[in-house]
Amino acid sequence: MRARWPALGLALLAGGVAAGEIGPSERRSGRDFMSAETRAMQADDNSNPGMLWVLQGEQLWSDPAGSKNLSCASCHGEATESMKGVAARYPAFDDASGKPIDLAGRIARCRTERQGAEIPAREGDELVALTTYVAHQSRGLPVAPPADERLAPARAEGRRLFETRMGQLDLACASCHDDNWQGRLGGSAVTQAHPTGYPIYRLEWQAVGSLQRRMRGCMVGVRAEPFAYGSDAYVALEAYLMSRAAGMAMETPGVRP
């Protein structure tokens, strides 16, 4: 062990991770690491449990809500048309707040500002279902991060966070998802952390949840204090991850172990 590693160690004395971003030709969706059974579950809408959230979101889309008694459809019409490709472009720059916003944050903003409804809870059924329904309208389309220079600082910050060792276990996202994506942690495939299937139905959760919930799980796993849902830090990580996944096909709702 000692004989093999000193050279590598010396090259990285700064203590950073040996981060090598994954080359475009090597990129693989998390789906490709799953068992045949789980892949089949995702592929068939009749067996994909995430479709229940899609259906719930479809209902919510046309239900009037809030003090203005407006539904999403009142302004946006048919989601199958108006929302096609939208999720593939998020996070996007939000002029009102002057910073990037994630898709769930944008939907929550519509709920409060356009419909006059209560702020929906992050990871609550309503927001997760609506986000899943909207993202589902991009299924099969390529991830298409906007060519908006105002997003560059968030992407850079997301990459910095991705490569920062965190928690008592002192691991960065990149320690596993750039440097060891071909390996297995415990019995589970590490994967490359491409967010193509979100919100996903995770068998471990027995529910659909967001990319931020998934990242929270990893942060707790390395014994770090997770960021707050909707925080700039999570949005920056999302912006970075979507830029890494540019061109890959959206899968929402993905099914993952």
């Binding site: 060792r165 928690g167 019995g187 590490v190 014994r223």
Partner: protein
């Protein structure tokens, strides 16, 4: 007797662990790529070490390492297989690798099991605490030196 006192007169390069504003850890002496004496002066128990290595919440060993432990299908492969590690490495070499692998390889993904947390945003529960206590480290070392079959 031994390790803690030795550390007070440790040669350059063998930095005692701990600082004044955080919980102090037991000091130890690094000689080459080994910590010769047991942490706290007492060697561990191999049976307790075997249980601790196989356990998935506290030691976490098997998340990255495979080896001659129960449930091979739940073992990771991000780190060297521990089968035969007792032949490849001495007790003292194993001890240093468990205590602080990053002394040998700063880029290692293996956390320092007996050090103060180095990552950012350490959760409150774990702040200022090593992953394992000296006695637990010694139990694991006592077990790993018994893995002689290659």
């Amino acid at each position: 007797m031994g390790a803690a006192l030795l550390a007070l007169t440790a040669p350059a390069g063998a930095q005692p662990v701990g600082a004044t504003d955080v919980p102090t850890l037991i000091a130890y002496e690094v000689a080459g790529d080994a910590i010769t004496g047991p942490l706290g002066g007492t060697r561990g128990d191999a049976d307790r070490g075997a249980k601790l290595v196989a356990e998935r919440q506290k030691s976490l060993c098997v998340l990255c390492h495979s080896g001659p432990f129960p449930d091979p299908h739940l073992q990771g492969n991000l780190a060297p297989d521990l089968k035969g590690v007792g032949v490849r490495l001495s007790e003292g070499q194993i001890r240093l690798r468990v205590v602080d692998m990053k002394r040998l390889n700063p880029a290692s993904i293996m956390p320092a099991y007996y050090g103060l947390p180095a990552g950012e945003r350490v959760a409150a529960t774990w702040r200022g605490r090593p992953i394992l206590e000296p006695g637990e480290i010694e139990d694991i070392v006592a077990y790993l030196v018994t893995l002689k079959d290659e």
